[in-house]
């Protein structure tokens, strides 16, 4: 199975870790992600205001590209993303089009295209759940991540707005949990799965971002997690890199590694720990993994 893959601005650069591990896992599970040629940025946030057509042009181009590429190369008729933000933007672009044909026309005339709003956007997690199946994943696990208490963190963009994104129940999601279980982790249920990490306010007001991120880590810790798994580079960055700052305001706080779900996945699927890059982790997870006897 070959699926057109849209990396977006971050995955080829600062979130390489996330991507490499995903690619490894895909191979291990018998499918591959084909990066679409000359893709452009999705805009990383859908315009909220009424008549801002431009904001849709970017994502639409991507969606069109994926469809063409898919047909040209005979790939699956979908588009897979790893980045929660891209996923959110692309999916909601389609939603907006299907709700408001006029919008679609405007964009089409803008891009001189005839897009129908029908490119099937899926997240890597969905491929694992729906195309591969968590049972199959479980079978393919060579190293069970026994005893590792993982808090699955969705953040905003996989779950909101529910009717537009609809990956999973916004308050009782199961997909992330399902995957982690199949890897043998001990899944920790915690209240802040869907709360915000502070997002891009990190750039203008680091303090604010840090506070948001802290509430998430705090909740996870309270629930007894050793580590938080994320799907989104920005969440990973905020939760991980701001812990020093958090300590200032919350002295008693204990450092917690923030790890990409694909890093766990590839570990479980037998990727040599030495080959797994933890560049983006300022809190090094290895000590913990050693302690748990996973390294």
């Amino acid at each position: 199975m070959k699926i057109p893959y849209y990396p977006g601005c971050t995955l080829n650069t600062n979130a390489k870790d996330l991507q490499e591990c995903a690619e490894f896992s895909a191979e291990a599970l018998g499918f591959s992600m084909v990066e679409m040629p000359d893709w452009n940025c999705c805009g990383a946030s859908l315009p909220l205001t009424a008549n801002s057509a431009m904001g849709y042009a970017g994502p639409t181009n991507v969606l069109i590209g994926a469809k063409e590429e898919g047909q040209k190369e005979g790939l699956e008729d979908k588009l897979v993303t790893l980045c929660a933000v891209c996923y959110n933007v692309l999916k909601r672009t389609n939603y907006a089009f299907n709700k408001d044909a006029a919008k679609l026309d405007t964009i089409n005339s803008l891009l001189e295209s005839d897009y129908k709003g029908d490119t099937n956007v899926v997240h890597f997690l969905e491929v694992l759940r729906d195309d591969i199946g968590f049972d199959k994943v479980k079978e393919s696990v060579s190293k069970e991540l026994k005893g590792l208490k993982v808090a699955p963190y969705y953040g905003c963009f996989l779950l909101r707005p529910h009717e537009e994104v609809g990956l999973d129940d916004p308050y009782a999601p199961t997909i992330f949990e399902g995957l982690l279980k199949s890897l043998g982790c001990e899944v920790v249920d915690f209240s802040h799965k869907g709360e915000c990490c502070g997002s891009y306010s990190a750039m203008s007001n680091a303090e604010n971002a840090a506070e948001c991120s802290f509430s998430v880590i705090d909740a996870a810790a309270a629930a007894g997690a050793d580590v938080i798994a994320t799907t989104c580079p920005l969440c990973q960055y905020n939760l991980d890199s701001k812990q020093a700052m958090m300590k200032k305001n919350h002295g008693d706080m204990k450092e917690m590694p923030i790890i990409y779900f694909t890093q766990l996945l590839s570990m479980a699927l037998g990727k040599d720990i030495g080959k797994i890059s933890f560049k983006s982790n300022s809190i090094n997870p290895l000590p913990l993994l050693k302690e748990k006897g996973l390294v």
Binding site: D169, Y171, A172, S191, H192, A219, A222
Partner: protein
């Protein structure tokens, strides 16, 4: 050629001052069909009426026009008088030359011209009036009450008190409905068991009241005064007549089940009564959980039962009853809470709904009235009450206000405070709706005396942290977010129509709104009637209501029923639609447009009984005479008696210039 008599009334000087009544009387002599005219001082006076009778008799009048006041004023008077003189009352018409002429047109010339027109107009109409007989229908002097909650019981008691037989059909195992679940009731804080149980017992002892519990109305036909209902009495697996209610079966039954009466908290048995004061106090085997029905073994209840009244093979029983009137009192449900993930109901044990709190607060409830939170039985020190959960919420719930939540939340804060003196209650509200006798005072008491902290705002999320529930809300008055660490959260859930209310409405042929609440016949003037004559509404099945309102409406419905059943026969104005079956081609526009479902399809059969033609048929008992069908009918095959097309045309033509 008809023989019309025309009487022009002076009404003292009320008419004669601005209308030349003599001239009117004089000119009407020349109208075709008119054989007698006269102007008279006071037609409505008894000499006036006497004269009317006299002339009818003397001149063999076959129709009469009284040019006087508004028909709304005296039409009945003159029709009765004419009837007394042996004239069919529908051969009398009035020309409104007072309210709509003499009083509004000061110019005598104009007034007279108009009076001439109006009188002429009615002469032309009355000549085409048909002799109509009032519709007479027999009345079955027995009532049916659907629902055995406070509404149904109250209605039944009031009807029975008048010596009229009444049947209560309750789908549950016992009477009592939701009210018997409540701990104490606002605004007086008297325990609902104490005020409800006596009513239940009274109903069960009243010789005029027959109670079918564990039963449902399956079908209804007939019309006002003459309904027939098919009732299914579900098999209880217990012979009701023989059971002494000793309770040994329940005691010995090995199969524990959740008790819905305790909102799934307390336990019950596979054979049980929901609560000790149940009426009737006869247990029922829940065949879905009973071991015997699963495995074919056990039968312990049968062994221990003294009067031997367990009957595992008992079948559902169908009872057909004839009744003259019906009170629908099926009550309400509360909205399922699974859709409110942000409040964590179902996920966190200590997030409960209002009814559960009632059971917790009730002395007979699953905690014997002690404040113990479900998760660990600890006494909650801080309780947050969230109002409008599902109410006034277009995105996840319903847009209407459930009306009772403001009051019962206030009540619950009091009950809580009275049991946990050091405890603190917070209430998140949007508006306090306390319109009602002593209601506002009651809420203030909760705030001022029982120290409830009222916060104007909604809650966005509830989540667990340690053994606390973190409640993230807002105070919109100060415009600040508010976070409260609570031990227990109580959700004031929206009141919704009963599940399946729409189906029942269809069975009964009454209308219901988009929320499946039953529709009253007129929002202001006929609040307990339905559009179906003879069927009345009581309680929350019509719209969210509290106990006092429900009881009031129940008594109102009862009085409507009694008014109806007090008559030997029902007489109705014969102003109803009639179908010319020869011409009807059954397009059923009339059937579709009729607001009362008075029109049905009828098959016309030949001698051997094969249907040769389908036509529309009007049920005169149900038809209210609006004439929608008449106007809708393309071939004018259905017409409204008293307002037939040729009568209207005659009026129009009479006004030709």
């Amino acid at each position: 050629m008809s023989r019309v008599g025309v009487f022009v009334c002076h009404c003292g000087t009320n008419i004669s001052a601005t209308v030349d009544v003599a001239k009117v009387a004089e000119e009407m002599k020349n109208q075709p069909g008119v054989v007698y005219t006269e102007d008279y001082k006071f037609m409505c006076s008894s000499p006036g009426q006497g004269k009317l009778k006299e002339i009818i008799d003397e001149h063999k009048l076959d129709s009469v026009v009284i040019a006087a006041c508004s028909p709304h004023m005296h039409e009945k008077t003159f029709r009765n008088a004419a009837e007394a003189a042996g004239l069919n009352s529908f051969k009398v018409e009035m020309a409104n030359i007072r309210e709509q002429c003499s009083w509004v047109h000061p110019d005598k010339a104009e007034g007279t011209v108009k009076s001439l027109d109006l009188t002429k107009k009615m002469i032309e109409k009355v000549r085409l009036n048909e002799e109509l007989d009032k519709i007479v229908m027999p009345v079955t002097k027995k009532a049916l009450v659907i629902g055995g909650g406070i509404a149904g019981i109250q209605a039944a008691l009031d009807i029975a008190a008048a010596g009229t037989e009444v049947i209560i059909v309750e789908k549950d195992v016992t009477l009592g409905g939701h009210m018997i679940q409540l701990s104490e009731t606002f605004p007086t804080l008297d325990c609902s068991q104490c005020i409800m149980t006596p009513k239940m017992v009274e109903a069960s002892l009243n010789p005029n009241i027959t109670i079918y519990t564990y039963a449902e109305v399956e079908a209804l036909d007939g019309y006002v005064g003459n309904f027939r209902a098919r009732i299914r009495r579900k098999a209880k697996s217990v012979v009701e007549e023989d059971c002494t209610g000793c309770g040994i079966c329940q005691e010995k039954c090995p199969k524990k089940v959740d008790n819905p009466f305790e909102m799934g908290h307390g336990k019950s048995k596979a054979i049980a009564v929901p609560f000790p004061q149940a009426v009737p106090n006869v247990p029922v085997i829940d065949r879905d959980s009973c071991i015997y029905y699963k495995t074919g073994k056990c039968r312990i209840c049968e062994k221990v039962c003294g009067p031997k009244c367990i009957d595992f093979d008992q079948q559902d029983e169908i009872v057909n009853v004839d009744i003259g009137a019906i009170v629908v009192a099926t009550g309400y449900d509360t909205m399922p809470l699974d859709r409110f993930g942000e409040y964590g109901y179902g996920k966190y044990k200590d997030v409960i709904d209002g009814l559960t709190f009632e059971r917790m607060a009730s002395a007979a409830g699953f905690t014997e009235g002690e404040m113990k939170r479900p998760s660990d039985g600890k006494t909650p020190e801080t309780v947050v009450f969230i109002q409008c959960v599902g109410s006034r919420d277009e995105s996840k719930g319903v847009s209407y206000c459930s009306k009772i939540c403001c009051m019962y939340s206030a009540k619950q804060t009091m009950l809580y405070k009275h049991k946990v003196h050091h405890g603190k209650a917070h209430v998140f509200y949007m508006d306090i709706r306390a319109g009602g006798k002593n209601y506002e005072e009651f809420v203030r008491r909760a705030i001022e005396e029982d120290d409830a902290n009222y916060i104007r705002g909604r809650v966005s999320r509830v989540y667990e942290k340690g053994d606390k529930l973190i409640v993230k809300g807002a105070d919109t008055l100060s415009g600040r977010p508010v976070t409260i660490e609570a031990d227990m959260v109580v959700l004031a859930t929206a009141m919704t129509a009963r599940k399946g209310a729409d189906k029942l409405a269809q069975t009964l042929g009454i209308s219901y709104d988009r929320y499946n609440f039953f529709s009253e016949s007129h929002p202001k003037l006929r609040p307990v009637e339905t559009n179906t004559a003879g069927i009345f509404l009581a309680g929350a099945c019509q719209a969210p209501k509290d106990v006092p309102e429900t009881v009031a409406q129940a008594s109102a419905a009862a009085s409507k029923v009694l008014g109806l059943l007090s008559q030997e026969t029902l007489k109705r104005e014969p102003i109803t639609a009639e179908v010319n079956e020869a011409n009807c081609i059954a397009c059923f526009d009339c059937l579709n447009i009729c607001p009362y479902g008075a029109i049905t399809s009828k098959g016309i059969t030949d001698r051997d009984g094969n249907i040769i033609k389908e036509v529309a048929e009007v049920n005169p008992g149900v038809c209210q005479g609006c004439g929608l069908c008449n106007a809708a009918c393309r071939s004018k095959t259905i017409e409204l008696r008293g307002f037939k097309d040729n009568q209207i045309y005659a009026e129009i033509n009479s006004l030709a210039v």
